[in-house]
Symmetry: C2
Subunit: 313 residues, 2 copies
């Protein structure tokens, strides 16, 4: 029996091995993904993002337990795109997740860049395919809110929860810049702390116009992960979002858009690998580099010439 058969039979050890193949891009990982893909598509993928210290792990933990109590199977991917300096914090978060059951109804996977460049977003999307094909009903993806990698990962999700805390009052200004576009639901965690009312009021205010123009009303839900408070409301909000987008057709449109992006990303990385190979073969590349180094040419002009010569026109 192949490891893939074992995965389809529900063996967690086989799932773990296949995820490692996918993460490491071991030989044949794309063929594996081709086999997994047709069995995927049923899981709901929920993203959780927010600043460090907002209690993301705790909140994801609470939501997972609620889903498990409802008889659902839950996969969790914890992504930490922050590299070298915060290696410690990652482990700290994972320890907190250890009170989840070990009966196979939940599976937690951590992914971190640890200084490596790129590829994390693509790998995360591929790992969700494996979890999805395995049969999890929900895949919860937790990511620290730092720039590009995080936004790419959010592209994998059906619904995105942005978690803020009363202390992130200043973030409201910044929210306008980028997060408003990716958030479907706001959770204000540690809502017992001073300032909670202020940040909720500020958010409600910001959402007014958006709500007028849309069927979806962007709920702002105060939570206290540490006291397991309002988790029902948060989960209800998530399910309401899925239902609303399913009805409006946005759910399908969004998933089709994700497929288009996935195709583009695969072609892009194949093409770039090809470009890399071809560029190494350009016989006078070192002469071109010398001309640029000495100021006789520049990378922009040289690239135009190279692009004309390149075999992938």
């Amino acid at each position: 029996m192949t490891v893939l058969d074992k995965l389809f039979k529900g063996e967690l050890a086989a799932l773990a091995r296949i995820i490692s193949y996918i993460e490491n891009r071991d030989e044949g990982y794309r063929r594996l993904l081709s086999r997994l893909y047709p069995r995927s598509g049923k899981a709901l993928k929920i993203g959780f993002t927010g600043p460090p210290g907002a209690g993301k792990s705790s909140l994801v933990n609470c939501v997972a337990k609620k889903l498990l109590a409802d008889g659902k199977q839950v996969g969790i991917i914890a992504v930490d795109p922050t590299s070298p300096f915060t290696g410690g914090a990652l482990l700290g978060d994972r320890v907190r997740m250890s009170d989840l059951p070990t009966d196979g109804s939940v599976y937690v996977r951590s992914m971190a860049t640890r200084g490596s460049r790129g590829g994390l977003a693509a790998a995360t999307g591929n790992v969700t395919v494996a979890l999805d094909a395995f049969g999890f009903d929900y895949i919860l993806i937790e990511t620290v809110g730092v720039g590009q990698v995080e936004l790419d990962i959010i592209d994998t999700c059906d619904t995105v929860v942005v978690i803020l805390v009363p202390e992130s009052g200043d973030a409201i200004q910044a929210l306008k810049a980028g997060l408003m576009e990716i958030a479907d639901i706001f959770a204000i965690n540690k809502a017992d702390r001073p300032g909670a009312k202020n940040i909720i009021a500020a958010l409600q205010n910001m959402l007014e116009i958006k709500r007028e123009q849309s069927e979806w009303k962007w709920p702002v839900i105060p939570t206290e992960a540490i006291n397991n408070k309002n988790i029902d409301e948060l989960l209800a909000g998530i399910l309401a979002h899925v239902e609303c987008t399913r009805k409006s057709g946005r759910f399908e449109r969004h998933r089709r858009e994700q497929i288009r992006k996935k195709i583009f990303n695969i072609l892009e990385s194949q093409l770039n690998a090809l470009l890399h190979d071809r560029l190494v073969d350009v016989s006078d590349l070192e002469k071109i580099v010398s001309d640029i180094y000495s100021g006789k040419s520049d990378p922009y002009t040289a690239s135009e010439e190279l692009f004309k010569l390149a075999p992938m026109k």
Copy 2:
């Protein structure tokens, strides 16, 4: 007189305008870069990275003032790749820099992703070309240590200073993963705090083997930016690194490697734009997406087919 002529004449306002063109990729920005490039190459580019709260801005400030006192002209690029949540902190840092002189001998530019995707690293490299062509002797690039974007920006520099504080004791473990490779100099800032001796000893220990195998000895320099302490030593370390790499030929090899990467990156982005245009033209793309959405196909198989059909072979 064109804005480019004004820049070459030393007008800061022209520099600021051209940097904006470059940042926004306004029409013709590549031709601008082609014109700027041959005048660049003289500035030394020094990168400063470290965890939030390490005092990067203060230390960069101190180094800049020391250089200015020596009669040098200094450009500073402050990059904040952390997006939505930390918009506030960015401004805080910039305020601290306001005690620099306003006589034109120093120019500070902040760059932030603010939720936008990609392109920051490329833009930063292009902005250094403008500062370099303007005539600054030193370009100091400050970046928060978070993952990919930061590593890419570091590729722009000749010398990299990694700033740690006694509180980052845990970071030593993580350092092994990625930062050891990019650091040329370690500054232990806030060195008057407890734990400074420990982190310095741990670093010295880690560096032992590296030092044996190399001419460069990776200095570990305790600093106190707030008291302007040991800045001379830090600057001396930077200059020693430049001298050492110039002698060994590494300086030139490194800059040539940066040129190779730059060419590759330009071609890559042109190729990806072309790919995007062509993919939109694939007449049965929506049918392919539908097949994938319904589980009849998968993105990996579909991409293989598309790659065969694509005109950019």
